[in-house]
């Protein structure tokens, strides 16, 4: 038999030497990885119920923080579109004259960060209040005007929340200003809540990412346990740890990737389900609000995150587990 083989090889020596030296190494390496990728998929397919459950759990786990992130992104655009209407009221000291008040308003108006500043004297304020409130008679009964003069400041529309806050702080320091307040204190509170939700989204995202790592790690651990005998045989035949590890790492990648795809589908479903009521809300704002989804970059980031987490979950488990398995 061996004789025959040698004879056959001998007949085509040039062909036999060219193939291994040039094509084979690259082809072999790529081919080996491609084979592992397919093989890992085949392994998952063979126990598809368990795999599907794992993938679903990963999908839900990934969908939660991502959904929260999209929510925060939408609330953010919502709040910036409201920010254009924010005004700050500077309540002037009683001894500030009308002339000095007007000068202050003109000076503030000239600033880059301020869109407009309007002086409202105590009398004008009272008049406006009388008309708006309908408390005319009651106000007449007062011995003196209880309202202070006010400079109403509209900050530049492009400013961030933090910058608006800083601006109000500096205005508080102007001479003649008794108090400075953002008109929409509730908006301030909304901003605070928003940043809280954003922070929470990050924390939840980190925790659930760790959960995905553990889920994948545990699945791979069971997988390795089920293949103990196969791994022992491979080691006996001279397989390196890296060789044995590769298909498991690819399983981890597949779990992470499919989990991310499931998460995208779940989020898409939520978006469609919420589109009706959100559309009504948007129309009530004259289309000033555009709903933002995850977008292409966000979607790809989610897929990449899934792959990375799957890889991590596997890498953290597989080395330790494989080292424990030796032929006896």
């Amino acid at each position: 038999m061996a004789e025959q083989r040698r004879g056959r090889d001998g007949r085509r020596p040039s062909q036999r030497q060219r193939i291994p030296t040039l094509a084979a190494p690259a082809q072999g390496w790529l081919g080996a990885h491609a084979r592992c990728l397919i093989e890992a998929l085949g392994r998952m397919h063979r126990r598809w119920v368990a795999s599907l459950l794992t993938v679903f759990v990963i999908g839900i786990t990934l969908a939660l923080p991502t959904g929260l992130y999209v929510l925060v992104k939408n609330l953010d655009t919502l709040s910036t579109s409201w920010q254009g209407t924010v005004q700050a009221s500077l309540y002037l000291d009683d001894d500030v004259s009308v002339e000095r008040g007007r000068t202050l308003a003109r000076r503030l108006d000239a600033r880059d960060t301020i869109d407009g500043a309007e002086y409202v004297s105590a009398e004008e304020g009272l008049e406006t209040f009388r008309e708006a409130s309908g408390f005319g008679d009651a106000l007449d009964a007062l011995p003196s005007n209880p309202l202070p003069a006010v400079v109403v400041v509209t900050p530049d529309a492009d400013m961030t929340r933090a910058a608006v806050g800083e601006l109000v702080d500096t205005l508080r320091g102007e001479t003649g200003v008794a108090r400075a307040e953002l008109d929409q204190a509730w908006l301030e509170r909304l901003f605070a809540i928003l940043s809280l939700i954003e922070r929470a989204a990050w924390v939840i995202g980190l925790l659930l990412s760790a959960a995905v790592v553990f889920i994948v790690g545990n699945t791979i651990r069971l997988d390795i346990e089920n293949r103990r005998e196969e791994i022992e045989v491979m080691k006996l035949l001279g397989a390196s740890d890296a060789f044995i590890r590769r298909p498991f790492l690819y399983s981890g990648v597949w779990y992470g990737l499919s989990g991310a795809v499931v998460a995208l589908i779940l989020l898409g479903g939520c978006f469609v389900a919420l589109a009706g009521p959100l559309g009504t809300l948007t129309r009530s704002y004259d289309g000033a609000l555009d709903l933002v989804g995850l977008g292409w970059s966000g979607g790809f980031a989610l897929l990449a995150t899934g792959i990375a987490l799957g890889w991590c979950g596997c890498a953290l488990t597989v080395n330790r587990r494989l080292a424990d398995i030796e032929p006896r």
């Binding site: 291994p20 082809q27 072999g28 081919g31 080996a32 006996l236 001279g238 006896r328």
Partner: protein, 221 residues
């Protein structure tokens, strides 16, 4: 250097305190075929595990193909094992793969290309007379056929040393003789072979060298 296997005063004591090999010195020449015999518990499997680096000796020196195994580090074991052909009863075929894929495994591990693998696997299956069974799964084969697939897997990468631990363990005498003849043929192509077996009458009929172990001691050889 002409010896493929050299044991120098090898002692193997298992963690439980059991003395499996007690000062064994032996040689197997390149191209030689020898049977390892002895009662159950004599230390046959232990001797083979030392060669396969599945166990390490407590004392003494094992030199295989000129390499002192004490110098082979854990990371180098895979590469070392790739050059051996191991047939252990407890390490059987992978039942979720075809006969072809089972035999191809050592070559896949070495990273050979498709065409090369197919050619060598077919040659090995031809040697053991199972070429027509390449697409089958191991469960559909008889015990003797499975054993021959295991042998094909062990020789597919042309090892310099073939170790077989009770390769005819639960086969009937006729099949056992078949398998032994197969080993003889492999030996004639130049492979050094060591076979542990209980089938003493078969060994005596074959007329090859016999290494007998008794309670961890070498008896004759």
């Amino acid at each position: 250097m002409t010896d493929i296997v050299a044991f120098n005063h090898v002692v193997k004591r298992y963690p439980g305190g059991k003395m499996a090999l007690d000062g064994v010195s032996l040689r197997l020449a390149r191209g030689e075929m020898a049977f390892l015999t002895g009662h159950s518990g004599a230390g046959k499997s232990t001797l083979m595990k030392l060669i396969g680096l599945i166990e390490r000796p407590t004392r003494g020196q094992v030199v295989i193909n000129g390499t002192d195994l004490a110098t082979v580090r854990r990371r180098q074991i895979p590469r070392y094992r790739q050059r051996l052909g191991l047939i252990f009863q407890s390490y059987n075929l992978l039942f979720d793969r075809t006969v072809f894929d089972n035999v191809a495994l050592p070559l896949v591990i070495r990273g050979l290309g498709h065409a090369d693998i197919a050619r060598r696997v077919r040659a090995a299956l031809d040697t053991v007379g199972l070429l027509s069974h390449e697409r089958k799964f191991p469960v559909t084969l008889s015990g003797g056929e499975q054993q021959r697939v295991g042998i094909a897997r062990a020789v597919v990468d042309r090892p310099y040393l073939l170790l077989a631990d009770e390769p005819t363990g639960n086969l009937d005498p006729a099949l056992s003789a078949d398998i032994m003849r197969l080993f003889t043929r492999l030996n004639e192509t130049g492979t050094s072979i060591m076979i542990a077996t209980h089938a003493i009458d078969l060994v005596q009929r074959m007329g090859h060298r016999r290494i007998a172990l008794d309670h961890g001691h070498l008896e004759a050889g």
